[in-house]
Symmetry: C2
Subunit: 271 residues, 2 copies
Amino acid sequence: MTRSVFFVSDQTGITVQTLGQALLAHFPDAAIERVDIPFIDSLQKAEQVLSRIRAVAAVGEPPIVMCSIVDDELRAVIKRSGVLCLDVLETFIAPLESAFGMAARHQASSTHGSPESGDYEERIEAINFSLAHDDGVDGKHLAEADIILIGVSRSGKTPTSLYLSLQFGIRAANFPLTEEDLENQTLPKTLLPHRNKLFGLSIDPMRIHRIREERRPGSRYASLPQCQFEARQALRLYQRLNIPHLDSTHKSIEEISTTVIQQFGLKRRVF
Amino acid sequence: MTRSVFFVSDQTGITVQTLGQALLAHFPDAAIERVDIPFIDSLQKAEQVLSRIRAVAAVGEPPIVMCSIVDDELRAVIKRSGVLCLDVLETFIAPLESAFGMAARHQASSTHGSPESGDYEERIEAINFSLAHDDGVDGKHLAEADIILIGVSRSGKTPTSLYLSLQFGIRAANFPLTEEDLENQTLPKTLLPHRNKLFGLSIDPMRIHRIREERRPGSRYASLPQCQFEARQALRLYQRLNIPHLDSTHKSIEEISTTVIQQFGLKRRVF
């Protein structure tokens, strides 16, 4: 029987949804229906959620509620449902109060950067920078990059650059390695002054072969020998020039991004 | 005195870092130094973290540890430090086991989509789609869009489209409103077949004036009367044509994205 899991938040709920996903992954045999309910920031809205919970409970298994609600009064409304209600903020606030030796201030502060916060502009600038420096389009302002991803076509440079800027506020450029670069085992000239910012992505030739075949079936670009040549030569280049690198074949965008941040000792500028 | 907060994870730590940020926002008077330690997936690495915690504790206030570690043995190593250690997975697994009536399976599964998971390709496709359909560049494949953001220049269309695709796997296009559209109070022709996918962003004229002044100081484009005209006419257009819309002036990218998802009844496809 399907179990409903309600993700209730007074803000976007993105954090509790993501944490919830990590938790539910431990119950692969449970049939789960996720219900995301963001922006519950008034008594009236909380009462509506209470009604929804009761309506589900009335006809089947009681739903499980994971929530993130700062206001005690609103949270109390949800809890009147009597179903399991795990609040990710409430749970950890008390031990942190003890550890810090001070009371928490329960202003409903925004988790994510609002336009009034300092890191908002930084984030938008980073996104614009990554877009402008995608795939080697602009080589003039690479001095302002925090990092520059290099790799063959379809090795994951663009999604990683965008993630780094959007999620962390890091100015990530990316630059393709051309066939000539790979053949001669040299870096594109534009990159030579920025050697210390380079991070290489390598990838399994079978995988780029498959991806490229979908885009340009039957082309030389997509052929397995070509993909094998590029993958091998790119890796050789990183090793020869001592460029930090990672095999992106089995990595999520988050894993590649976190590895880059760790490698260069960068810090998240945005949460 | 500065208190160190260690974010320790066997994976990227992005979830525990984000939750931690939300929690620490309740202690604005605490001087906090954040230390992100991802990929702690072996006994040896856990022992190294234990040493770091002890080293910090030896010379000052004991650090606080927030962690997300699936393996009981690794988590036990961290806990030998004796400092406050809040594990976001462990805390909620037991109540969920009771609620589901089954034991959790503690495989170290990836929180975020790895290339082997079904939603990885969907996510990459969504990112490519949003990039290809940024700022009205490609109007041919709008039928494949989940949603189309419209608005005047600098109202937040591009960051929101990218966030929707990258974070949620939603195919978000965006399209500018030209001066002619605004003057005539009509939609760009390309958008007419897609009326039911449109979402309008409006924005305070002072804010776009300020943003545009930084980019093209003294230009007509950046002038306050021009910004006032565009902002007023865009809002009028949304109201006249009954297009769902949101004032993005004081909203984070996450808030705008969540509102769009809610408005159209979309679901996150990626976590």
